[in-house]
């Protein structure tokens, strides 16, 4: 009993350290500049300055950053879910010459760190005339070796009898993929979807390098540039940070079960 109480004290202390930066971010975002620079600091804002939030929209094209991020995240995620699952279906279910070699080649991509392919990709996208366009932010991010691998492993676990029954009923191969495999793979598709949304929303180095006009900025690049402009105006910076992170925090709180199952699956599988 005594041990349990102590555990709670430690866990609550840890949870405090985890949550305080978030609370401080929100609290600062509602203070006036003068109040944020007070010593000793006020815990809660004395006057709630909601106008910091609208000031962010006025000082930079924050709405555009938001829109860009949403467009990039949604397109990448939908494309990855479709393309990865299609390929994973072929690797899990169909017979074709060269299958194993191609699959191993795809797995080898997993070992290459993203920074290594950055510079050649910059050259490729320059050649294509895609620098500073949505193509640069979306198209390379539509393909994922990790996604193919994750889904293929899951598809292998779906009973083959389901496919065979559907074939008897005259179902085409695409029909089996669409009507049998996909509806039976919701957990894996959810996990991959959430991973992709997070990775693409929070991504920084790629959009930083591949875009240069203010109109093409995504949120991460936008608030970094914002920090460069308003180096010490912490209330404004924090308001920007709150608005860029809130969508992912909300998504996590609602979908955490799926995300956690997905992460746990990776660790157990190896």
């Amino acid at each position: 009993m005594k041990i349990k109480v102590n555990n709670h004290i430690l866990l609550i202390f840890g949870a405090f350290i985890m949550i305080i930066p978030f609370l401080w971010m929100v609290s600062t975002s509602l203070k006036s500049y003068g109040e944020a620079m007070q010593v000793p600091p006020t815990i809660l804002p004395q006057e709630w300055k909601m106008s910091n939030y609208s000031s962010v929209f006025e000082s930079v094209n924050f709405l555009k950053y938001y829109l860009n991020t949403i467009i990039v995240t949604l397109s990448r995620t939908l494309a990855q879910l479709f393309l990865c699952s299609l390929a994973a279906f072929a690797f899990a279910r169909l017979r074709f010459p060269g299958k194993n070699i191609i699959f191993i080649a795809i797995l080898s991509v997993l070992m290459v760190p993203p920074q290594v392919i950055l510079i050649p990709n910059y050259a490729i996208l320059t050649q294509l005339g895609w620098i500073d366009t949505f193509y640069a932010l979306i198209v390379p991010g539509m393909f994922s070796a990790f996604g193919v691998f994750l889904l293929r492993q899951f598809f292998m676990g779906i009973p083959k009898e389901l496919d065979e029954a559907a074939t008897m009923d005259g179902c085409s191969l695409f029909g089996i993929y669409w009507k049998i495999i996909l509806p039976n793979s919701t957990p894996a598709l959810m996990a991959l979807g959430i991973f992709t949304i997070l990775a693409s929303w929070n991504d920084f180095l790629w959009p930083l390098v591949m875009t240069n006009s203010a109109d093409m900025r995504v949120l991460s690049v936008g608030i970094a540039a914002f920090q460069g402009q308003y180096a010490t105006d912490y209330p404004l910076l924090m308001a920007g940070a709150v608005m860029s992170t809130i969508p992912m925090l909300i998504m996590f709180i609602f979908l955490q079960k799926h995300l956690i199952t997905g992460i746990a699956l990776q660790g157990v599988r190896r």
Binding site: N7, Q38, V268
Partner: protein, 312 residues
Amino acid sequence: METPLAQRRQKTGLISKRKKRAHQEAIWAYLFIAPTVIGLCIFYMFPAVASFALSFTKWNGISAAEYIGLGNIIALIQDSSFIRSIVNTTVFTIVSVPLSVIIAMCISLMLNQRIKGMVVYRTLYFLPVVTMPVAVGMVWKWLYNTEYGLVNYVLGLFGLPQPSWLFNPNIALLSVILVYVWMTVGNNVILLLAGLQGISKTYYEAAQIDGATKVNQFFHITLPLITPTLFFVFITGMISSLQVFDLIFIMIGDSNVLLEPLRTIVYGVYESGFKYSQMGIASAQAFLLFLTILFVTIIQFAFQKKWVHYDG
């Protein structure tokens, strides 16, 4: 009644039908994998090879690349900034990964005891993992602020020293490491907790009958059986900490004071490639990073037999 000839005809008909079906299946399969395979080739495989080739060239990204052999490697070895980035990245990885894993191990052990509010704790510990690293960097830069920051205010309340976290070159890297640990602990908790929950209860029941203490149980049951998960957590943790960039970029900001104490290998890639347009030397750094990651991973796999138990 069918004649033998008719039977044979029917049989060959079946075979060719089956062949036709296999043929069709292959065509469909190639259609299904084509977009992904082509995409991965253009944007991942070809660039990986090209990065290796570019390492031996002098190239500004616009004019034709010029082959200079090992010129980039020689220049890098003589460049104190590059050496600094290697040292910083190594320290960053060696300190942050074990620290994050040990803390995560303690938390997941506590959470694994059918504790009340487990889901709430897990959610709170995981929040930093889903937060944009750029935003994390901004918030912590503010928390670390020497005069107005919350961290120093709290330390002051307890009469503790109030260092200028980021602006003291001796502790700047450590300050960022602490933020990184804060960011990654939740991910490790989830993985380790899943591993702990996979350990069969019968082991503990048997140990209790034998009269083993809690400490004995931890060292002889929990720890050996969690080693596969620990191995996974260490490998993936080291791979991502060797690639740290976003946090570093935000923490350095426009400051020249922080540039050297905080620069990492990926920061070097960014700086050479996109600030100074030296794509060849940037590729060489990126490729050295790749080799480092490969080397660390191989070493870990080589040593896993010594400590990882796969018989659980």
